[in-house]
Amino acid sequence: MRVLAISKKSNIQHKPVAKRFKHFRDNLELSLLALPAIILVFIFSYLPMFGVVIAFKDFRYDKGFFGSKWVGFKNFEFFFQSQDAWRITRNTIGLNAIFIVTGLIVSVSIALMLYEITNRFFVKTYQTIMIFPHFLSWVVVGYMFFAFFNVEHGLINGLLKMLGREVTNWYTEPAKWPAILTIANIWKSAGWNSVIYYAALMGIDQEYFEAATIDGASKFQVIKNITIPFLVPIMTILTILAIGGIFRADFGMFYYLTRESGPLFPTTDVIDTYVYRSLRTLGDIGMSSAVGLYQSVVGFVLVLVTNLIVRKIDPESALF
């Protein structure tokens, strides 16, 4: 009886292995085709994920990744007890929240207004010019900014002088930068993002508008009840993605536009610039890896939570 039971059991265990091998063999060619990308993703995305344990070590270059001593949460304690933790978290989330809201409003408005224009020539021309800033790197945008905000020769101070007003040293005035960066963000990305919304508008069946006109709906009513509802699904998806990334700042923008000016840090220092600075300038690996892990984990949780909420409200719009 017992023997029988064992043999039966082993039989059950045996079958899937053979089957699995067959599956493996049948899919081998396709698997091999995807292999280069799989390896690259593994090396450059997954290995660093395992590497996050560095945050719990006292990393030393001479001892390497495996040889360095474990120190538990010491790196985190050090960071969270400093003034910096609150400052960079507030700046990152606060500025990104402003960017998300203003960016959404402006790019949807651009798409709606573009939709009102029937002349194709104007639509194309406006679009071509408005998406131009998207193609410039932040380094180049930094040069353009410098032409405006340069203290001695800059265009803005030149204008202020001409008007008989006092000039400002822009790179030492932290209070002005949230607004400056918000404008920079809109300038660089609103035109590009509006293309998606505009494409969605182009897909709306004209019959809706005809029916609304017959019913005597006003322009405003049409926009509110027909046009905007069509955009809501795309707006939701893009906003979830943006909220998921709210803990990650656009490094290039904060690094090149502010020209790493120390006096501006109270309002412009974000997690990404902070991590970069602690790693490259201060060489503080423990601290910077702890902050990096904090950023990754909270960011990941935010994506999951946002998606969960959206799935509760409208399962169709959820990402996964």
Partner: protein
């Protein structure tokens, strides 16, 4: 009715006005940089920058072209990285996307998750930096500018969405005829997907051309500095140009080098080719963005 028409005409006027102002705002920063690059050093120190140069002065360009080594070397690096990166990236991304697009591929969901997860979670900068410098020993090599960003998950998804539209029957019949997967991919899928591949090629080459992040992290050797990083370094060290000058063109001395304008001229020389290519390519980018926005 008449009132209505007039009202809509007025609103249309304001819409056009808005777009014209917005477009001017998009272009003015570029004009400012161009204008400064053509201004003389004397005018700049006297009047500051201006949107229209008081007189066209070519000193900055003459000065740079007398010492073009730095610029040429940066161009060489950027072109190499962009060309090689785009070709390799297109190859690895499209093969993976093709596998993901095949309904019959058994590990499709696992592979999709494997890729998708990297968009949600990352190990952060420090482990990445240590891995590349200490273990892969890629620091100060040309490959560090190419390999880490070869696979872009967004582009893979974009390609997969496109490949999914290829009828499965086409691939099945080729299989019955005895064609191997590799052959099917290159002989059937690639020729049918030229528009999508071209879009991703454009996205990828723009990303490589504009990349400053990898060089900022991993490049210290002079001969491996690409354009964007060269610009970045010139911005942070004011006198960078002066210290590198070997040949000073006639009419200029060490004391009156066109520092201010030369920096802006370098910026224009670095983005020049892109400015010319932009009007021709931008519509493909717009098309690609619209293809990618389809949820799939």
């Amino acid at each position: 009715m008449v009132v209505d028409k007039r009202k809509s005409r007025i609103s249309l006027f304001f819409i056009h006005l808005f777009f014209m102002l917005f477009c001017v705002a998009c272009i003015i920063p570029l004009i400012a940089v161009i204008s400064v690059s053509f201004s003389s050093e004397m005018d700049i120190s006297k009047y500051g920058y201006s949107l229209i140069p008081r007189e066209i002065n070519l000193d900055a360009y003459r000065y740079i072209l007398a010492n073009p080594f730095q610029l040429l070397s940066a161009y060489r690096v950027s072109i190499f990285v962009t060309v090689v990166g785009t070709i390799m990236g297109l190859l690895v991304m499209s093969t993976m996307a093709y596998v993901l697009s095949r309904e019959s591929y058994r590990y499709r969901n696992q592979l999709a998750f494997y890729l998708f997860f990297t968009m949600l979670f990352s190990g952060g900068l420090v482990p990445y930096y240590i891995l590349i410098t200490q273990y892969l020993h890629l620091k100060d090599t040309i490959w560090v500018l190419i390999l880490p960003s070869l696979v872009n998950p967004w582009n893979v998804i974009l390609l997969r969405t496109f490949f999914q539209k290829i009828p499965a029957a086409l691939i099945e019949s080729a299989k019955i005829d005895g064609a191997r997967e590799l052959r099917i991919f290159f002989a059937i899928v690639v020729p049918l997907s030229k528009p999508a591949l071209a879009t991703v090629a454009l996205f990828t080459s723009l990303a490589y051309w504009n990349d400053w992040w990898l060089s900022l992290l991993f490049i210290t050797k002079e001969r491996l500095v690409p354009l964007q990083f060269m610009l970045q370094r010139m911005m942070s060290t004011l006198e960078f140009l002066t210290t590198h000058a070997q040949n000073i063109p006639s009419g200029m001395s060490e004391n009156n080098l066109p520092n201010e304008s030369a920096r802006m001229a370098m910026c224009i020389l670095a983005i020049g080719p892109m400015l010319f290519a932009y009007p021709f390519f931008q519509k493909y980018f717009v098309r690609g963005l619209t293809v990618g926005s389809v949820k799939g």
